[in-house]
Each structure stands twice: as structure tokens, then as C-alpha cells.
């Protein structure tokens, strides 16, 4: 569907209050449809092995989206779509998208459940707060990891020139410009000048100031848009979409279905997740990111999130050409073994369920620069090793990993980890001996659990 029609409907659709949309439309429909389509979870299973339920979940999610539409939070109007419009969008969804330029150009594909193809790796600071002084070095360190296909969310600059950034201020535009410049400079220093850079600079229309073919973000860089839970979109996102669709950037659309939120329990949230995948492509999304978020844990490696990632990704993988990717946020922080245990559990779950991968990042960084390129490399290696693995093989490994961290999901008690500047030698941009030793130790542990890492 053409974006101008979306923009029009967001100004002319049915006018209702947000609470009514969420309660009477989303919550009521999700509850009814999850029962009608017999979407269930026993509270024990980690990976869905029921293909028929994945198919039913897709149908339920499609019906939910057709019933509810998408809510424009600023105009308070519902952007509604007919079944034939949804079917058309699904029919013409592109199963592959290229990004980056020259020798650094890469292609992401739609993946099937238990697909033998390696997943695409989006990896970088993933919007953890990054201090302006560390921005280029940190992103250079990520870009020099050759296993990373696309530099992912080069980091949130919440401060520039020593000043906190107000979203609609002139400083926000300056931050967006510097973000584009510094991200491009980082991949150039990493020897990958055409490397694709996915993300968004600041959550404001000023973000488009990061765009410049010479020094900033290019039409070959995926630009990220975020839907608001559940099935809602705001003017900032629509404004950025209008620009980036016209400019020609691949659109990376993200959403975070909230387990325990308006979808209710896991079955309803899975239905909402599928509806959100569909909403994302209706808006022009070409790569769609699911962040299986949990109301209580506020991260994505708890057991509920693992099963949600598994079921929703399988539903989409089996019934559409949507290019899916799954975000990975953890309780443990970089510099701890738990961080690796958590992202490995979710990566095995997501990849065997037909997804590509995005991440990792601690759900609650304790300050700036709380990410590790070396752990990003391990994350990518685990994701590659999961290609071709069956869900049945992955399940006991995921269970064993979950056992290691299940008692430390609480963000207050999870390992505090260390920031990049303590994990790396900043002159050589290489891991410290201690951080390298942690990588070696965890990798061996993962191999012993059955992950075929090289």
C-alpha cells in the first residue's frame, strides 16, 4: 500500500480514545482470537514444536490486525485495512533486501523454520547510551568483527557537547548529524566503508538530519522505526517514514509485544505479535524486528519471551515472506558469563524458528558504553551455529542455558558487568586478556552444551 494512503487514513480514520483502542479492540480481540484459534502454552515448553499451532497463530494474528487496525496516537484515529489489502501486502512482500554498498553490500533473506541458511547478523551498541567521546571507537570495534553483517543502532547519544539533548531542540539536530558522521567514520576506520548502518539517531523528526550520502547515513542504510505497544504508531515515526520511504532507505520496523500487557498472557501476546508483524509491512517495513518483551522482567530471555519468540517467528516464517529478525536484550550485562548464556538461549530459539538476529544488549545498562563487540562476535557465532539445527536439538540446550541464569533475571540482582572501556584496550581496540579469557571460557562451555561453534 502506498504511504500516502496510510498518511491519509491516519487523519481520516475512526476517532477513538487510546484506552478504548487498547482495551476494547486489541485486548478483547486478542483474548477471543487466541481462544478461538486454540493458541496455548503449558508454561513449561521453551520452543514451539507444533507447526499447526504456528499456522493458527498466523491466521489469528491476521484476523486481529484486520479487526483492530493500527492506532495513530497523535490524531487518535484508527488506520484500518481490508482483508484484500492485507493479502496484497503479504503477497508482494519481498523475501530479500540488500543494504550497504560496494564490496560491503549484503543481503538479508526471509528464513524458514530450521532453515539451513545462516541468519543475518545485526550487531552493534543496539541503542545503549554511548558517550560522544567513545562513539567512534566503540562502533569501529563492532565493525571490525567481520561476522557482523550490519552495524546495528550505533548507540544513543543522549548528550552532545556535554549537554543533554532535548528531543525537539537544535541540539537534537546536531546530535543526528554527528551520529551520521561518526557512524560512517567508524565503519570506514573498521575497513568497511560501505557497511550498512541500521538504526535511528534521536526519537524526533530531527533524526533525518543524519542523512547524507557523503558523510552520513545513506539510502543503502536501513532506517529503524518503532511501533508503540500495542499496534500504535506516533507522528514522529510516520514523519520519518514519509522521508525515508521517499529517500529509498530499507525500512527496519521494530515492535515489542508486551507479555502480560494488552495481549494478556502468552497466547494473546503471540497473536498480537503476528498482527504487529503484519502492521509493520503495511507501513512499508521490509525487515521486521520482534522484541519479545515481558512486563515484569523487562527483558527478552525469560521463559515466556523464549516461547513467544519461537511461536511468533514460526508463524511468520511458515506463512509469509516477511523478513523477520529478533532482538536480544538480557538481564546480565557485558563482562559476565550470564550475558552470553542469555543471548545464546534466545539466539538458538530465534534462529531455529526462522528469524534473523539483532543485538545483543543489556536491558538495563548501568551507564554509558555498556556493550561489548567481542560478546557481539560470540552472539553472531552462536546464531550461525544454530543454522540448520532442528528445534528438537536446540530445546535441551536452551533449557540448560536457561537453568544457568533463571535465578538472576531480576535486573537489580543480575551481574553488573563492565563498560566497553574496561573490557577493551582503547589504543589497539582489542579485548583485554580478562575479557578474551571470558569469551574463551564461555565458548568452550557452549560447545560442551552441544552448540557446534568453530
Amino acid at each position: 500500500m502506498n504511504f500516502k494512503e496510510i498518511a491519509k487514513r491516519s487523519e481520516t480514520g475512526r476517532l477513538i480514545e487510546s484506552k478504548d483502542f487498547l482495551m476494547k479492540s486489541v485486548a478483547a480481540n486478542a483474548m477471543t482470537l487466541s481462544k478461538e484459534y486454540e493458541i496455548t502454552w503449558d508454561g513449561k515448553t521453551f520452543l514451539n514444536l507444533d507447526d499447526d499451532m504456528a499456522d493458527r497463530c498466523f491466521q489469528a494474528g491476521k484476523e486481529l490486525f484486520i479487526n483492530t487496525g493500527l492506532y495513530s496516537m497523535n490524531s487518535h484515529r484508527v488506520v484500518q485495512f481490508s482483508e484484500s489489502e492485507v493479502d496484497d501486502a503479504l503477497r508482494f512482500t519481498r523475501a530479500q533486501v540488500s543494504m550497504g554498498t560496494g564490496k560491503d553490500q549484503v543481503t538479508i533473506h526471509h528464513r524458514q523454520v530450521e532453515d539451513e541458511r545462516k541468519p543475518f547478523i545485526f550487531c552493534g551498541p543496539f541503542n545503549a547510551n554511548v558517550h560522544e567521546d567513545m562513539f567512534v571507537k566503540l562502533n569501529e570495534a563492532f565493525s571490525q568483527e567481520k561476522i557482523v553483517d550490519c552495524l546495528f543502532f550505533p548507540g544513543y547519544l543522549n548528550e552532545v557537547d556535554g549537554q543533554l539533548i532535548r528531543p525537539t531542540s537544535a541540539l537534537a539536530s546536531r546530535a543526528a548529524i554527528l551520529y551520521g558522521q561518526w557512524a560512517r567514520e567508524a565503519v570506514r576506520r573498521g575497513g568497511r566503508p560501505g557497511m550498512a548502518i541500521a538504526g535511528h539517531a534521536v526519537m524526533a523528526p530531527a533524526e533525518i538530519a543524519s542523512t547524507n550520502e557523503e558523510w552520513g547515513l545513506r539510502s543503502t542504510d536501513p532506517r529503524a522505526m518503532v511501533l508503540i505497544s500495542e499496534l500504535q504508531v506516533d507522528d514522529v515515526t510516520l514523519t520519518r517514514l514519509a522521508y525515508y520511504l521517499s529517500y529509498g532507505c530499507p525500512i527496519y520496523m521494530a515492535f515489542t509485544p508486551l507479555i502480560g500487557g494488552y495481549g494478556g498472557g502468552l497466547p494473546g501476546t503471540a497473536v498480537v505479535a503476528v498482527a504487529s508483524f503484519i502492521a509493520s509491512i503495511m507501513l512499508g517495513g521490509e525487515i521486521v524486528h520482534i522484541g519479545p518483551q515481558h512486563m515484569k522482567y523487562k527483558q527478552q530471555t525469560n521463559q515466556h519471551s523464549l516461547f513467544l519468540a519461537s511461536l511468533a517467528n514460526q508463524a511468520v516464517a511458515r506463512n509469509s515472506n516477511i523478513i523477520a529478525t529478533t532482538s536480544h536484550t538480557t538481564s546480565g550485562r557485558p563482562g559476565s558469563a550470564q550475558y552470553a548464556h542469555e543471548f545464546s538461549a534466545l539466539a538458538l530459539t530465534a534462529v531455529t524458528s526462522g528469524s534473523n538476529v539483532s543485538g545483543p544488549r543489556p536491558a538495563e545498562p548501568l551507564g554509558n558504553n555498556h556493550v561489548s563487540p567481542l560478546m557481539g562476535k560470540l552472539f553472531a557465532e552462536v546464531a550461525h551455529a544454530a543454522a540448520g539445527m532442528s528445534r528438537a536439538v536446540a530445546t535441551p540446550i536452551v533449557e540448560a542455558l536457561y537453568d544457568k541464569y533463571k535465578d538472576h533475571l531480576d535486573l537489580g540482582t543480575a551481574p553488573k558487568g563492565q563498560p566497553f572501556e574496561e573490557l577493551y584496550d582503547l589504543d589497539t581496540l582489542t579485548p583485554t586478556p580478562e575479557h578474551q579469557a571470558l569469551y574463551d571460557q564461555v565458548k568452550e562451555e557452549l560447545i560442551n552444551l552441544g552448540i557446534p561453534l568453530i
Binding site: 483474548m31 543533554l164 532535548r166 526519537m203 508486551l258 494488552y262 494473546g268 515484569k296 523487562k298
Partner: protein
């Protein structure tokens, strides 16, 4: 007394079935039968909504149920409060809270859960909604004679409005009147300390626990 227990049971049932009409009917019956209205609020509505909140924390019920249960409680308590006020009485509250998501930020869910659970736990809550300009938060705190200002921010870039509210309170010379509580995905204890907030909570339950535990420290 048997009648009172029967009506409290009706109130409890209205929360458990998320039925605002039933809550209003039970409250009207309590008024008509001359029950102790303060006790009716506590036994009929507050206890069951607290139980619902605990069930939400255990993930036995979810946000839609919590919202509907809270709506039923509000509808019932409104009837009881009106009657109590007409008798010259007043509902006791643990404290008066104004809560909102700061300017530039339209995330609602976390803030609404905080508002609901505070209300369920005996606080009088004024929910200012989302995208609330800093001066409006202070105006609301002043006009409602609040004890607590609770602010949510879901974006790194909107957190700074939490700082601005505190700065404005200082500039107006009223900082010490309020306990300022901050929260939201990017917010940390370190940020709360940096901007001079009085408290930080990861989630709604922590917010309730914190406010309950520091009650003696409120400014008034």
C-alpha cells in the same frame, strides 16, 4: 454486620469479575444500608484490588484485567466517597500523588500501571496522562496539594524533563514540599541521584514499596 459482609462480598466479586456496574450497585447498597463507608472502601474494594495487583505481579492476571478491575474499583469508590463527603467525612489516603509521562514522551503503559497500583494501595492518584509539560506537572501538584510527584520517561532523550521538573520546583521554592519519584526504561538510580530525585523504582510494585517505606520522609 451480616449485611455488611454480604455487600463487601458483592464489591469483591465486582473487582474479580471486572464489573464497574456491579461495583457501583454494591457501593450504592452500602450507602443505602448505612454501612461504615471508610470500612467499606477498605474491605470491599481496597483489599480485592490489592489482591488483583499481587496476582498481576505473579502474572496470573494481565494488564487488561488489572485495568478493568481498577476501573470497577474507581467507579465504586467514587460512589462511596461522594456519600462520605456529603456526611462531612473524608476518605483517608496514604498520600496524594500526581503521576504522568514527561513532555515529548507518549508511552503510557508503565505509568498507568504505577497509577493503578498506587491507587490500589491506598494513595489518591491524579493521572496527568502522557506528554505532560513540566510546568503542568507542578501546577497539578500544587492544585491537588500533592505529597508525591511521580514521573515516567521511556526515552533517553525525554529523561531530561524529569530533571527540569525538579529544577523548576527548586526555582519556585517548593522543592521540599514533594517527594519526587522517577522511573521508566532508561532511568536508573544513578540518574535519580544525579538530578536530585527522592526515589527511583524499576516498576509499579517497587514504587508502592518505596513510597510505603519512606512515608515518614514526605515533606508535609
Amino acid at each position: 454486620m451480616a449485611d455488611a459482609e454480604r455487600i463487601y462480598e458483592m464489591m469483591k466479586k465486582s473487582i474479580e469479575t471486572y464489573d464497574s456496574d456491579a461495583a457501583v450497585a454494591a457501593a450504592e447498597q452500602a450507602v443505602a444500608e448505612g454501612l461504615d463507608l471508610v470500612e467499606a472502601v477498605e474491605k470491599g474494594f481496597a483489599n480485592p484490588i490489592r489482591e488483583l495487583g499481587e496476582a498481576f505481579d505473579r502474572m496470573e492476571v494481565f494488564l487488561p484485567e488489572l485495568t478493568l478491575g481498577a476501573d470497577a474499583m474507581k467507579a465504586g469508590v467514587a460512589v462511596l466517597e461522594k456519600a462520605l463527603n456529603a456526611q462531612g467525612g473524608k476518605l483517608e489516603t496514604k498520600g496524594i500523588v500526581v503521576v504522568g509521562t514527561v513532555e515529548g514522551d507518549i508511552h503510557d503503559i508503565g505509568k498507568s500501571v504505577v497509577a493503578t497500583l498506587l491507587q490500589a494501595n491506598g494513595y489518591q492518584v491524579y493521572d496527568l496522562g502522557v506528554d505532560v509539560p513540566s510546568p503542568r506537572i507542578i501546577e497539578a501538584a500544587e492544585s491537588h496539594n500533592a505529597d508525591i510527584i511521580a514521573m515516567s520517561a521511556l526515552l533517553s532523550t525525554t529523561m531530561l524533563y524529569q530533571r527540569d521538573v525538579i529544577e523548576l520546583l527548586k526555582n519556585k521554592g517548593v522543592r521540599d514540599k514533594y517527594f519526587v519519584l522517577v522511573g521508566g526504561a532508561p532511568v536508573t538510580q544513578a540518574w535519580a541521584d544525579e538530578i536530585g530525585a527522592d526515589g527511583f523504582a524499576h516498576d509499579a510494585f517497587e514504587a508502592v514499596q518505596l513510597l510505603d517505606s519512606v512515608k515518614e520522609g514526605w515533606g508535609k
